[in-house]
Amino acid sequence: MSLWFTEKQTENVGFSIKVSRQLFSKKSDFQKIEIFDSEEFGRFLALDGIMMLTEKDEHIYHEMIAHPAMAVHPRVKDVLVIGAGDGGVLRELARYKSIRHIDVVEIDEDVVEAAKEFLPQTACGFKDPRVDLHFEDGVRFVRRKSDCYDLIIVDSTDPFGPGEGLFTKEFYGGCNKALRKDGILVNQHESPFYKDDAAAMARTHKHIFKRFPIAKVYQAHIPTYPSGHWLFGFASKKYHPLKNLNSDKWNSLKIKTRYYNTNLHSGAFALPTYVEEMLKDVE
């Protein structure tokens, strides 16, 4: 007998990984949390049947959501991370000595508990003393903050569950208010490929574009996410992701990465024509 985990990436498309065993399963107040071991992708986490991370390719996502903004903004001191229950983003941020403080807002405490027990590869990020963990709705958290962060990273699930509020105009407006006048917002921006993801991605861009003078999108290749083609948003009140990229400074930090580098940084903002058109349509 063989056991396969299949994520329905669309109504008509499934993505399957052969599972060697299930380690954890719990229905939290917000979602179903499952952790499996697999031969090909190592350990992986699924929320409501959607793959969130695998040990094999999580570094791509986490490096790409953390480093580009850090290579642009000259002095990031205070960071707000929304979501990130697995700790992966924190692991990447923890490599910057210049950061003073990181607020993490995760709605589901059970995800963090499960990650700490079963996903040490990413949960190591929680150990950093600069991290302050808040278990609440990110929509509410940003509503109460003004002018106090240099960088906000939105590491959300898809917009069809508990993460729905993190794709709304009211939330991005709140982020704008919570950022300092030269702050940067980076968000998980869904995929342009399958219909539902693409609609969410266009809507997201529309909302962010209205709230920030600079609103760009960049891409990465993440094999376990639907279509593998994934996008991130880079929105800012002041810094341009390419014009203000300080490659020399970032390279001097000697942060060892496996996916991100400053050449790739520039390339990542070059998008396929159909994606450019989708973005332009909502601007």
Binding site: D137, V139, R140, V142, R143, R144, P162, E164, G165, T168, K169, E170, F171, G173, G174, K177
Partner: protein, 484 residues
């Protein structure tokens, strides 16, 4: 001694389950035949839904003349609401309100009612020819909204019209404001007047804990409870409640004057199941709703300039109790009209709320809501306030304009009439209604004198994007008035 009522039963629902399993071959209406004749519709609404869209028949009883499962379901509903009789309505609470008025009054008889009633009550007067005696509600100067029916106002109306046959109260109002129902009932009954309660926004009063008193409990003779609002049934379904004093058979005849003979079993079964749910779990359900609404009010308070009012507005005269499940929010202090906020929330934030008026919006909170949706609503309000706050100057503040009644609604409606441009209608007598919808409370009713103030109000409401209804002219640029 009667056996204890078993509220876990749902007689109509159970009969429909049984009926579905019988796999009866339909040679009766509806012609879609369990959806097979209209595949696109069946695909859209679902096979399950179409398979129970059936006509009345012996095993499923008949709403016009109920003797078996519908009668049993109605009896359970009556008991659940503390009434003697309950009538399932498939023409909305509008149908229930109409029936109350048609039951209580004949042509030329008087009914005492506040002017801020729903259009259905005044429309019923057009049908039966009764004459309204309005008790003008007090207006809260800060909120700009009409309040409840004061006992003093009622006493005065009764003194001036001792021949009135009935008193109609809308309790609670759309905004959650309650009148002193018990006292109103006592006064009206002492003068042999019937008490009709439009309880469209208070179906939950009979089920939640620490709720304002329900119409039946206060001793009203008839009440219309919108099960489809807070009760959870399908849109257009409602329940008409009657006390011991009411002649059940006559009331049924009245209901049947205007109600369909092909009542939808989707609507009827939704009433039966919602009643079951409310009688089994009502306390928990409304505890959760109150909690959500109170949480939202607390969060809204922190935004600043926006005020979600609650029981602090109780003054014992014009506001005798408050329904805290109603999330009514004053936006005027941020310099934004309620109707504007209503549109902005939908157009820009994908949030649909119940209605907006000159100064307020109302978000309908129910058991179907989730905390995270409340967070979105609050954040959207915070953003609207942050990005659009203006000076309050030039804002229209008063929601309620006291009417001058010249003719009964029926007389005006059926008179010789003509259409005149809105701007030239001052001084004329209206032969039709104008209301913002929702909430559907007439700005102008048939038989009332059109004043410059009303014209200004209509123009302002139009300019703020309010959807105005009731007139022959869909653009509301002309009004139908009494021919000179």
């Amino acid at each position: 001694m009667a056996a204890k009522t078993d509220f876990s039963r749902a007689p109509l629902y159970e009969a429909m389950l049984k009926f579905r399993d019988m796999r009866v071959v339909p040679f009766d209406v509806p012609g879609h035949k369990r959806g097979r004749g209209n595949p696109k519709l069946a695909d859209f609404l679902g096979d399950k839904c179409l398979s129970i869209d059936v006509n009345s028949m012996k095993p499923l009883d008949n709403l016009c003349h109920p003797t078996s499962v519908i009668a049993e379901a109605q009896n359970l509903a009556a008991k659940a609401f503390g009434a003697e009789h309950a009538f399932f309505m498939v023409n909305g609470t509008t149908g229930a309100v109409q029936s109350m008025v048609l039951y209580a009054l004949k042509r030329g008889e008087k009914i005492i009612l506040p002017r801020n009633v729903h259009r259905s009550a005044i429309n019923a007067l057009v049908l039966c020819g009764a004459v309204p005696v309005y008790v003008n509600p007090a207006v809260d100067s800060r909120l700009g909204i009409a309040l409840g029916m004061s006992v003093e106002g009622l006493k005065k109306a009764i003194r001036e019209n001792p021949d009135a046959k009935a008193v109609l109260v809308n309790n609670p109002t759309y905004y959650g404001i309650c009148s002193d129902l018990k006292k109103i009932v006592k006064i009206a009954h002492s003068k042999n007047m019937l008490v009709l309660v439009d309880e469209a926004h208070g179906a939950h009063f009979s089920f939640g804990k620490n709720m304002p008193v329900s119409a039946m409990k206060a001793g009203a003779d008839l009440a219309s409870a919108s099960m489809h609002k807070s009760g959870g049934s399908l849109t257009q379904s409602s329940i008409l409640l009657a006390s011991k004093k009411v002649n059940e058979g006559y009331l049924r005849q009245i209901v049947n004057l205007t109600q369909t003979t092909s009542a939808s079993y989707l609507l009827l079964s939704s009433l039966d199941l919602s009643r079951r749910e409310l009688s089994m779990h009502g306390e928990e359900i409304f505890e959760k709703v109150c909690e959500l609404a109170e949480y939202a009010r607390g969060e809204i308070k922190d935004i600043g300039d926006i005020y979600a009012f609650s029981s602090e507005i109780i003054d014992g005269v014009n506001v005798c109790d408050f329904d805290i499940t109603k999330l009514s929010i004053l936006t005027l202090d941020a310099g934004i009209a309620g109707i504007e906020v209503y549109d902005i929330l939908r157009d820009e934030y994908d949030i649909q709320i119940e209605f907006g008026d000159m100064g307020n919006v109302l978000a309908y909170v129910s058991v179907g809501d989730r905390k995270r949706d409340i967070e979105r609503l609050v954040s959207a309000l915070a953003e609207i306030r942050r990005t659009r706050r203006k000076s309050k100057r030039g804002m229209f503040e008063r929601e309620f304009i006291s009417p001058q009644v010249a003719l009964s609604p029926q007389e005006a409606f059926y008179s010789q009439k003509e259409q005149v441009p809105l701007a030239k209608s001052a001084g004329r007598i209206a032969c039709e209604f104008v209301m913002c919808y929702p909430p559907g409370i007439p700005v102008l009713a048939a038989g009332e004198v059109i004043t410059p103030e009303i014209i200004e109000y209509i123009k302002y409401a139009k300019s703020k994007g309010c959807s105005l209804t009731g007139t022959q002219d869909l653009g509301v640029s002309k009004l139908t008035v009494l021919k000179d």
